[in-house]
């Protein structure tokens, strides 16, 4: 009997796809015997179109069902198959078969009775000479891979017949087999449904074949199989579904005993794969990874049902399909090709810095020489101290404990969030793990070269010219706020200054890579940790950058996340105290400074001095203020002329940063948020000035880069003036007449130090005569308070805690003739020693207080005088015991919350760190907006061969550089700050963009560029990172532009 073919057409949308599909069905040479149309939540257009053709059966489903379910619904209205020859032809609204397609498929089923499923060659909807999908297989580990995808059809695959699996669209299935196998697995709603059916058919002893002569145009609109589209969300969903399908199949195919083991591995695997996703710069796929694992793990009865269905139909062993699996050597070959393609792409995109070629080496050398000249007296020192510098905790455990939420071991101690700065110190201290305090010495010695390099790299994003890069680097390295912070011993301000330029560099690069974006977010966190007063300005800068960076915004949007996560415990703590302003307080040891005037601020002088110029001009009639102003003015003037440059937006953004920095510095002069004894310590305005300075330097670079003549001369004059302005400061530094000095061996008397060797918690009650005859009382544990123990929560406290009141009570009574029980200090705080600091000799009130305290302590029978030391007079409690219980960190300080906070912070930082490792070259789409290719070369590059298209980026960028207007070439990738720079208007830009934008799709999507016959498309399921979501997302944006 003549076999009966029932076409099942699943329709969701009406429109052009459906119209062409219906026409194609109508014009079949061998027309199907019946047409069942399944409407799944179809729109009215589709209804109208369907009613016109009056199908044999008509199933209207009010809900959106998967392709498999829709076909099952159609199958229900059909009769039992009369013979084995009867077949179902599974069509979707977007699969338009060629006129001879059904005939050829049916012929295959007829000629070979063993073939149960025959699949056509799916070709691109708009380009029928390109193969979209053609056959599927699985690797030995069960990953689904396409045999051929997105290749030009030159008949190179026409010899294929037996395959392991198929894509669902337009396959012809024997109706009886369909019924026996139970149709598509409901556990595989979109991906791998037909593959799974094919595998089950094979295990039931049937064969599955592709029919190369049967061509079906396929649009991949998501009715049959996953939706293939450029949108990021589509891609993410496809990746997630692919992974879920793979996991589902793994549970279904595995031997029963192994299935639970597989189930257990899903979450750990998701974690490991997420790490890999970070490394390959595909962070967007991570949620899908976990969603796939979890939904598959808890999919209810789907897996058992699928296992039953498989078992019931199975007649042959798994070994029967082994030869049809993708062979490992073939997979290896595919991987090699992919890597080659990536390298090809990366070559075109890499930012050529030419560090040595443009004189970066000389800048480095000059800054190293300057550092040696300024800090010669620090060489050979064991550490650096003075100002706000203190040693770091001696031991990585203490260092990192102080960086985490938990016990703040300062004074009597309390529970609270750590300053993010302590985290920065922990990182620094871990570099020199054998002696963490050495890290600060290294920071001081390397600060100037590190700052110079950072500015050099940042400037390299704005100019190709070595001289301008060098000038920018040196202006940044010799910035007045930087040198003054170095002299004053302000580790936070120094670190912030060094990192700001690097942050600018990384932020410029964020448009081109996830690695740079993640690095920028880490630097952002570090800068804010080192100088929280910069947080408002940097957040504003971030919002502005988001607004103007167009499609690069995706990578910038997460910029503050590490900073927020690090600071969260501190923020909550300050909100709890109602002292939000306290978040801006400078971390580390509160260090007093004179509040500068507006004039001084405008010159970049944060410490209320005139940069040493007042003593320089003391003998002449020249006003030193005007002299130093005249030296800084050239930089400001040149920076302001940046608005003349073609890179107008860069100029405005840089000048805006300068203005923000100045506003921050001004704000700082009006705030005193932390206290040190009786002194309210003003906020350090130098951090704001650093921001202002980098804005000026970058604006000056933009301005000078646009100059046609005399560029180098003006640049070096500006630099010379700036360097001259800091000469007195530099002389002070070089001669060591600054607060910073080589560190002493200890910060507490040797007697206490010796005790601390045995008892790391030995407690010293330190009394310091303070202003107006008051007394400052602090507790120092072990060998002395360390820099990482400092806490802004403590320094900005507006009220005293109960412990602190008790400490004050005890100290006040010890410093008086009193009936108070002196043993309370031992009992409550485990104090072993009392150290009375020598007062300032010219402060009579302080001398009187010291005298009073000395008399009282001397006359106290509970204390034995140890004697005068370099640090003051020392007494010891007679009842002091080693390892006093009151001196220990209370056990309740290590609660579950401490661990939980640390874990969350470590996960976020670790993920950012992984993301920042630059492994993504060539994997990522370039979001740098101005790399706008001319259209013609691209079309040429694209047409002949995908391989050539991959290299197109390189050509394109070269062409941009050459084609830039009036000779002011901006280098490729010159920054997210400049999303739509000066390029002359291209009239047909959208078209060009559209053409261009298709290119990354082909390049980054899972396409194997090689046209090898045995070489299929890159498996999308196996390589989720390469199905990078974001590049596609932005193409959508561009199309709409």
């Amino acid at each position: 009997m003549f076999p009966r073919v029932t076409a099942v057409l699943v329709v969701h949308h009406g429109g052009d796809h459906l119209r062409q599909t219906l026409e194609a069905i109508r014009s079949q040479e061998r027309a199907p015997d019946a047409l069942v149309v399944v409407l799944t939540e179809a729109d009215t257009v589709a209804r109208e179109q369907i009613t016109k053709i009056s199908p044999t059966h008509f199933v209207d489903l009010s809900q959106r069902l998967s392709f498999g379910e829709a076909v099952r619904a159609a199958d229900r209205v059909l009769d039992e198959p009369d013979s084995d020859g009867d077949a179902l032809w599974l069509l979707a609204e977007d699969s338009a078969p060629a006129p001879d397609a059904l005939a050829r498929l049916v012929a295959t089923l007829e000629t070979a009775k063993s073939v149960a499923i025959a699949g056509p060659k799916l070709v691109e909807w708009h380009e029928p000479d390109r193969i979209a999908r053609f056959g599927r297989s699985v690797t030995r580990l069960g990953r689904s891979v396409t045999l051929v995808a997105d290749e030009l059809d030159q008949g190179q695959h026409d010899g294929m017949s037996d395959v392991l699996g198929l894509d669902p669209a337009a396959i012809l299935v024997r109706h009886s087999v369909w019924r026996t196998l139970g149709g598509f697995d409901p556990g595989l709603p979109t991906v791998d449904d037909a593959l799974d059916l094919s595998i089950r058919a094979r295990l039931a002893g049937h064969r599955v074949e592709v029919v190369p002569e049967a061509k079906v145009r396929f649009a991949g609109a998501g009715v049959a199989g996953p939706e293939t589209g450029p949108k990021a969300r589509t891609t993410r969903r496809r990746v997630r579904n692919t992974r879920a399908a793979q996991l589902h199949r793994r549970l279904v195919y595995a031997p029963l005993v192994l299935a639970p083991l597989h189930w257990l591995t899903f979450l750990p695997l998701a974690v490991l794969r997420s790490i890999r996703l970070l490394l390959v710069k595909a962070p967007g796929a991570i949620p899908g990874e976990f969603a796939a694992a979890v939904t598959t793990m808890f999919s209810g009865a789907r897996v058992p049902r699928a296992r039953r269905r498989l078992k019931s139909a199975r007649t042959v062993g798994w070994s029967a399909i082994a030869p049809l699996r993708m062979q490992p050597d073939e997979m290896g070959r595919r991987r090699q090709h992919a890597a080659e393609a990536r390298r090809e792409r990366a070559r075109g995109r890499k930012h050529e810095l030419q560090f040595l070629g443009t004189g970066g080496g000389w800048v480095l050398l000059a800054s190293i020489v300057a550092s040696i000249a300024l800090f010669s007296w620090l060489f050979g020192a064991g550490g650096v101290s003075g100002g706000g510098l203190e040693p770091l905790s001696n031991g990585l455990d203490a260092l990192w404990r102080n960086a985490a939420y938990g016990w703040r071991d300062i004074g009597p101690g309390f529970m609270g969030g750590a300053d993010p700065f302590a985290g920065a110190l922990a990182v620094l201290g871990s570099v020199t793990f054998w002696a963490p305090s050495t890290a600060l010495l290294l920071l001081w010695l390397l600060a100037i070269p590190a700052a110079a390099l950072g500015a050099w790299f940042a400037a390299s994003r704005l100019t190709e010219r070595g001289s301008l890069r060098a000038v920018a680097a040196l202006m940044w390295a010799f910035a007045p706020p930087f040198l003054i912070a170095l002299g004053d011993g302000r580790p936070g301000a120094v670190l912030a200054h060094v990192l700001l330029a690097w942050l600018a560099f990384a932020a410029f690069g964020a448009a081109t890579s996830w690695a740079a974006a993640a690095t920028a977010s880490l630097l952002f966190a570090a800068v804010i940790a080192a100088a929280p007063s910069l947080a408002p300005a940097l957040l504003i800068a971030w919002i502005v950058a988001l607004a103007v960076s167009g499609r690069a915004a995706v990578r910038l949007v997460g910029l503050p996340i590490p900073a927020i996560v690090l600071a969260a415990p501190l923020v909550i703590g300050q909100i709890d105290r109602g002292n939000l302003l306290g978040l801006l307080a400078d971390p580390g040891l509160p260090t007093e400074s004179t509040v500068p005037s507006v004039w001084q601020l405008a010159l970049g002088l944060p410490d209320g001095s005139w940069g040493g110029w007042n003593s320089f001009f003391a003998t002449t009639s020249v006003d030193f203020r005007i002299a130093v102003s005249a030296l800084v003015l050239p930089l400001v003037i040149v920076a302001l002329t940046a608005v003349l440059a073609p890179a107008f937006r860069s100029a405005v953004l840089a000048l805006g940063a300068a203005l923000l920095g100045f506003a921050t510095a001004l704000l700082a002069t009006h705030l005193a948020l932390s206290s040190s004894g009786a002194t309210a310590v003003p906020l350090w305005s130098g951090a704001g000035l650093s921001l202002a300075w980098i804005g000026l330097v970058l604006a000056a670079v933009v301005a000078l880069d646009a100059l046609r003549r005399g560029r180098a001369l003006v640049a070096w004059v500006v630099l010379a003036a700036v360097v001259a302005a800091v000469v007195p400061t530099a002389i002070d530094l070089a001669t060591g007449t600054v607060a910073v000095r080589p560190a002493a061996v200890r910060t507490l008397p040797a007697f206490v130090g010796a005790e601390a060797e045995n008892d790391s918690r030995v407690t010293t009650l330190r009394m310091t005569p303070d202003a107006d005859g008051s007394l400052r009382a602090t507790l120092e544990r072990g060998a002395g308070t360390t820099l990482d123990e400092q806490s802004t929560l403590d320094a900005t406290a507006l009220t005293l805690s109960a412990d602190e009141e008790q400490l004050a009570e005890i100290a006040g009574n010890l410093a008086s003739r009193s009936g108070f029980d002196p043993e309370a200090a031992v009992r409550e705080f485990g104090a072993s020693f009392v150290l009375l600091d020598d007062p300032e000799v010219d402060d009579r009130a302080a001398v009187a207080t010291a005298e009073r305290a000395r008399t009282a302590l001397d006359g106290n029978a509970a204390l034995v005088a140890v004697g005068e030391t370099d640090f003051g007079t020392l007494w010891r409690f007679t009842s002091a015991e080693p390892d006093a219980s009151a001196a220990q960190i209370p056990p309740e300080a290590s609660s579950w919350l401490v661990g939980a906070v640390a874990v969350v912070q470590l996960i976020v930082l670790g993920a950012t760190l992984l993301l920042s490792i630059p492994t993504g070259a060539g994997r990522e789409a370039d979001r740098s907006p101005q790399r706008r290719p001319a259209r013609r070369p691209l079309i040429r590059a694209r047409k002949p061969k995908p391989v050539a298209a991959a290299g197109g980026a390189e050509d394109a960028s070269g062409i941009v550089a050459a084609g830039s207007d009036d000779g002011m070439t901006s280098p490729p990738g010159s920054g997210s700050l400049e999303p739509a720079p000066k390029t002359e208007p291209v009239d047909d830009e959208p078209q060009a963009a559209a053409f261009y934008d298709e290119h990354p799709t082909t390049a980054t999507d899972d396409v194997e560029p090689s046209a090898d016959a045995t070489d299929g498309g890159e498996p999308e399921a196996s390589e989720p990172p390469r199905t990078e979501p974001e590049p596609d997302a932005t193409e959508g944006d561009d199309d709409g532009r």
Partner: protein, 491 residues
């Protein structure tokens, strides 16, 4: 046509660029102006602190003990043994507070058993306020080697004391009495500064005074042949009370004794109230060659490192014109400045200097020559010597113990600019005293009595005795700052 359009375009571009620069410069100038001119709000935190009022403690005073005489026993020429007993008077407010008398050990004094030892006066914690316990002692002696009247206050312990007085030239001897009533041994350094500068005397350093004992150091042993010593006593460990016994022997005749208590700590302004000159006479201030003790003089030492100009105002209590003397002090050199020819009477000496100084004034009841000179008036002429120390301003309340002695007079000096109305309470009888600014009131008080003062903030007070062969005084000291509230910053 095209050229024109190009030109127009270029002009427009130049104009736009110029405008951009002007705007940028305008914003920059505007930012500076706003920064400088707008009164931006300030936020400066107040560092949190706690004013700690020390827990109440027992009050402690220690009296120097009986007068000592060196070399009374020929076998023990270096031993200072006591000469008679001293009479201690003490009082407290409230007057029902129990005052315990604890004798200190005086192991160096062989006659301690008979004559008694220094006394420590203590009250229970909280029984009296700080400063409201007072004690004083007075002793009249008349021996072959030592004669005269000496009164002294029982003092709080200190860690630093300036004793201005004494001499170690011919016939003069001095003993530094160091009493440690505390529970902690004290290590005392005694440094002597003379008219030639600081005396190098290593034996004066590191003297250990055990808890509850008195040690005596011979001034002559440390610094012989000094006409004008100043003794600077510092202690570590337990505090001490230091005083200097100054005895004068002219020829073989004893010519006076005095117990010099600590004078006011170095300061630019010093007040010496109640300076009693029993007889007319004196030496002109410009006389460089005045020797001996027999004329009123003030002893000055600039404790700083720079020369000091000092103006000495001598104002008679009875009113009328006083004298003023200007002197220049070399740092570290003690100067005795004669106060000129003064009428017998009581004076208040005000010293104003441009650097920190210590000061005390000396007077005698008569010239020792009057005794030794065969043509002298009277071999039995009254001869005694007294040092009147500079005082510190009193607090609002004070209590004074007036020991036995001839004609005790309380001098209340008001160096301030406002009249002070003080209340004296003696045995429950209240008495108002008005002291005009710049004047001193002399109030006769009962010997062996207790005087309670109220409303005396800023006044300076001395109790002076004068009589037949008797001249002495002791300053009324405010309580030390040890008990006062203290602001503590525990950050």
């Amino acid at each position: 046509m095209a050229a024109e359009r190009n030109l127009g375009r270029r002009l427009a571009r130049i104009g736009a660029r110029g405008l951009a620069v002007v705007i940028a410069a305008g914003i920059a100038v505007g930012a500076l102006a706003a920064a400088a001119l707008v009164p931006w709000p300030e936020h400066r935190i107040t560092p949190p602190s706690l004013v700690v009022k020390p827990a109440e403690t027992g009050q402690l005073r220690v009296c120097p003990g009986p007068l000592l005489s060196l070399g009374d026993d020929p076998d023990e020429a270096t031993t200072a043994s006591s000469v008679g007993t001293t009479s201690v008077t003490h009082g407290a407010v409230p007057d029902d507070a129990e005052v315990a008398e604890t004798p200190l050990a005086a192991p160096e004094n062989p006659r301690a058993d008979r004559d008694g030892t220094p006394l420590a006066l203590t009250t229970e914690a909280g029984a009296v306020e700080a400063g409201m316990l007072a004690g004083a002692q007075g002793q009249q002696v008349s021996r072959d080697t030592i004669a005269g009247y000496a009164a002294a206050a029982c003092d709080e312990v200190v860690t630093e004391a300036w004793l201005v007085g004494g001499a170690t030239d011919v016939g003069r001897s001095g003993l530094v009495l160091l009493s440690n009533p505390t529970a902690v041994a004290s290590t005392v350094d005694v440094r002597v500064i003379g008219e030639g500068g600081a005396v190098d005397a290593p034996s004066g350093l590191g003297i250990t005074v055990p808890a509850g004992e008195q040690r005596v150091v011979s001034l002559a042993g440390l610094a012989p042949n000094l006409a004008s010593p100043v003794v600077h006593v510092t202690s570590t460990g337990g505090g001490i009370a230091a005083s200097l016994e100054h005895t004068v022997v002219e020829g073989l005749t004893p010519a006076g004794v005095e117990l010099v208590g600590p004078t006011a700590t170095p300061a630019e302004v010093q007040i010496i109230p109640g300076f009693t000159v029993p007889v007319d006479g004196g030496v002109d201030a410009t006389d460089d060659h005045a020797e001996g003790d027999a004329f009123p003089a003030v002893r000055l030492l600039a404790t700083g490192d720079d020369p000091v100009q000092v103006s000495i105002d001598i104002a008679p209590e009875s009113g009328g014109g006083g004298g003023s003397i200007d002197a220049t002090l070399e740092p570290g050199i003690v100067s005795d400045v004669p106060l000129g020819d003064l009428d017998a009477g009581e004076y208040t000496i005000a010293l104003e200097a441009d650097g920190p100084i210590v000061a005390a004034a000396r007077a005698t009841t008569g010239s020792p020559q009057a005794q030794t000179d065969p043509d002298g008036d009277d071999r039995e002429a009254s001869v005694d010597l007294a040092w009147t120390a500079a005082t510190l301003p009193l607090l609002d309340t004070a209590v004074i113990a007036v020991p036995r002695g001839p004609n005790p007079v309380l001098h209340l000096a008001n160096p301030g600019d406002d009249e002070v109305e003080a209340t004296l309470t003696v045995d429950g009888d209240e008495r108002e005293v008005r002291i005009a600014p710049g004047t001193t009131e002399a109030i006769e008080v009962e010997a062996r009595g207790v005087v309670e003062l109220d409303g005396t903030a800023g006044l300076h007070a001395t109790v002076a005795y004068s009589g037949e062969r008797a001249l002495s005084s002791f300053p009324v000291r405010p309580p030390g700052p040890l008990d006062s509230p203290l602001r503590v910053f525990p950050h």
